[in-house]
Assembly symmetry: C2
Homo-oligomer: 131 residues x 2
DNA sequence: TAGTATACACACTTTAGGGTAAGTACTTGT
DNA sequence: ACAAGTACTTACCCTAAAGTGTGTATACTA
């Protein structure tokens, strides 16, 4: 995790917007490209690290843990590990993580309605959407 | 606008996730850091370029137009310009842009409920939330 | 005549995020 | 003896996003 330069204008700009706009606050937490996908995959319940990997084949291991750590740090999910060999680690949504359900759901609904050709694919996914 | 290298693994990864996950589809459209904020500011109605700039002081001009162009390109908003001097350009949400309202609203609600100290600030903003 | 306002455009630099590849520790299966 | 599985970690590199600064056309105003 590379440190953030204090003089970074980007960060200053972000923190400006951050206090002013609730939507930006959300983007700070789940704005990373993979985060919504990870949360989406955890909506259906707790999963092992390896299960997540299988669910999201396109993500690399480094990025997956990186994002998981950040989400954990932001209190959106909870990591549970059993002290066994081989390791057994599960991730599940925290209370505020679960509270994101309406957001993810609204996103998915919008995708279904506004994706044109893809809508059929998405509609299938929506059938499995955990309500 | 720099061209995207076809061999880019990132893009391949993204397009993989893109077809598989509705949430990712949404992130493709509004995933940029500033896009939700811009959309949020346009929810209340059409605005001139300069008004947007004032509403979002932290964004630079370059990034603002860049994002506006992308949003326009993705069909989320409509640009209208009057052929006068000085120029008079307004931006407003398109139909699918307006359809994002539930998403933005869900985000804002989540922010109000999960921001701790900031919740008061956000609650004030929510009073002005265009329903 | 110089200044102001508007909505950009362009070139250049910085930064954060993400990708690649390799390694670790320990046990179980062949 | 050796590979395989598990959940990571580390070091290095590349790219896309974002920031900085300057320029432009035109009309109105002081």
């Amino acid at each position: 995790m590379t440190l953030i330069k204090e003089s970074s204008t980007i960060q200053e700009n972000k923190s400006q917007a951050f206090v002013a706009c609730p939507v930006t606050f959300v983007m700070e937490k789940i704005g990373g490209y993979w985060k919504p996908i990870i949360l989406f995959n955890l909506l259906s319940g707790s999963k092992r690290y390896s299960e997540l990997k299988k669910s999201i084949p396109a993500i690399t291991e480094k990025v997956l843990i990186q994002q998981l750590k950040q989400l954990e740090g932001d209190g959106l999910l909870i990591r549970k590990s059993k002290p066994v060999v081989p390791p057994y680690v599960t991730y599940e949504l925290s209370k505020s993580g679960k509270a994101l359900h309406p957001v993810l759901y609204a996103m998915a609904e919008w995708a279904v309605g506004n994706s044109g050709k893809l809508s059929k694919t998405f509609s299938k996914q929506m059938k499995d959407f955990p309500l």
